[in-house]
Symmetry: C2
Subunit: 299 residues, 2 copies
């Protein structure tokens, strides 16, 4: 944890406990042959991860005084989507990772079939949570949340970005293409976290420009930091294998910019992200702290 | 095609053309590294399948004079969900099938990674279609469609049923458990087809009892017929490998009931399904014809 981000440690600890509690209730294991599916989902969803996306949702909802239980429900939906993407990305046919969040990946701990179905199940549950009446009394809000999450997750978002990432092992991408790849693969879902907070807060689309700018810059800064952790970090700190991008000969922000320019670029993006919040007062301090944390975290 | 189902051939032909046309527009291939993802989706989605689920949606919507373009949009969403489930079910870690709808499966024609991501993409697109404003002007209708489809697809529906089906290779299931398995694996999505038509037609939940009964009986009849095709049919007619259930030692309706009782049971379920439509006049004739077709089809 960086020293320059006071308050963020407590916020991360609290959201982690809240999300674990939600998943514990949501994923109660049934007493029938589906039990292994639920155990696989619990293995992936409970007790791990930084919960950065849920924290972004809750911090954005707080700007607009959204009901806390409803904000946490939306945050849980986004974490369902994120966890599903990690489970599928780790599969042998995809990135083939054995460790995630310091634990064996789902296909290692259970089976590939259980991993595919656990991911598919969490994917559907994300939409079930958003569409349910407890999310918001106005169905227009619920439908808009679903529409935006579906776009962020599908072929024009996360799934499309993962396809580009797999192609990066065979094609040499330039900086604009790597930027586009990351905007789809991680940027789209991070963007939805802010968008979801604005939707819940009844902010009209024309009032979301600052939050969208913040999300765009934060997403790229976060990815550059991730590239640097992959290149420099230890597997123990990262909770997963590192050095994989270089071994695969993949173009990344780091390989294209070099370490010094990459670090400077990440810092500039964080400054820019924070500048997008100029219309907000101290109530946006948590979002500012998250932006600084994004490039200071050591795991 | 059975002789006792006049009119159904034309209806199937028309819905197949409509759905192919919709998928052709929806899955326009982008000129970037995501192109293989779109080719994989097109391979699975276009030019194949009976389109029974879309026909059920459109036939139910017709009962309530739902706008035809909107009905077709909902039908396309459900077919997205169905096609995604076929792509994932065919994966080597799942049912390991090489042929589907008379063509190589997606992981055979492309790659396992492309198959996983094509399925994930179609899964998200189903919700994107339902939540979009073109589906219905009332957001309550859109949110309800999303909620019901998410439930039908997730661990309490299709994904849970597939998990049970995989467990059936190692455990010996009795008739109630096989029934439950099929109600989740195929029944939940077939049930949603009817539910979706009722939701689009603004039929309140208490007015959906007959349609739900029809869907429940049709789903089981359809599955018994599928078991019989798997046991008796030719791979050429089925467009996929047959005889797999027996080879895997799986309990099915057929193995538990025997051929004669299975056939009688399927017929009784079809009669019962049709009886649930007693409140409807000739406008429900297509639903009646679909029920008869479900056990007469030879592929």
């Amino acid at each position: 944890m960086g020293e320059a981000t006071p308050g963020i440690a407590a916020a991360l600890e609290r959201i982690a406990a809240d999300i674990d509690h939600r998943f514990d209730l949501l994923l109660a294991v049934p007493d029938d042959p589906r039990r292994v599916l639920y155990h696989a989902m619990r293995h992936a969803a409970i007790g791990g991860g930084k919960r950065l996306r849920p924290l972004l949702v809750v911090a954005t909802c707080d700007l607009f005084h959204v009901d806390k239980a409803a904000a946490l429900r939306v945050a849980t939906a986004i974490e369902c989507m994120h966890v599903y993407s990690l489970i599928h990305d780790d599969l042998p046919a995809m990135d083939d990772d054995d460790m995630r969040r310091g634990k064996p990946t789902v296909h290692k701990a259970f089976s590939e079939a259980a991993a595919i179905l656990a991911g598919d199940s969490l994917h559907a549950m994300a939409f079930e949570l958003l569409a349910g009446e407890d999310t918001h009394s106005d169905p227009f809000v619920r439908a808009e949340l679903v529409l935006e999450l579906a776009r962020a997750a599908g072929p024009a978002g996360m799934a499309g970005g993962q396809m580009m990432d797999l192609a990066a092992e065979h094609e040499t991408f330039d900086l604009p293409t790597v930027t586009r790849l990351q905007q789809l693969k991680t940027g789209a879902l991070i963007g939805f976290c802010l968008e979801a907070g604005a939707i819940m807060g009844r902010v009209p689309p024309e009032g979301r420009t600052g939050l969208r700018g913040y999300a765009r810059d934060l997403g790229l800064a976060f990815q550059i930091a991730d590239d640097m952790l992959d290149a420099e970090g230890s597997a123990a700190a990262a909770g997963k294998a590192v050095g994989k991008d270089a071994a695969a000969g993949k173009a990344t922000f780091l390989s294209l910019l070099g370490i010094e320019r990459a670090r400077a670029q990440a810092q500039a993006l964080v400054d820019q992200a924070i500048a997008h919040l100029h219309g907000h007062g101290p109530e946006a301090d948590l979002l500012r702290a998250i932006a600084r944390y994004a490039i200071e975290r050591d795991h």
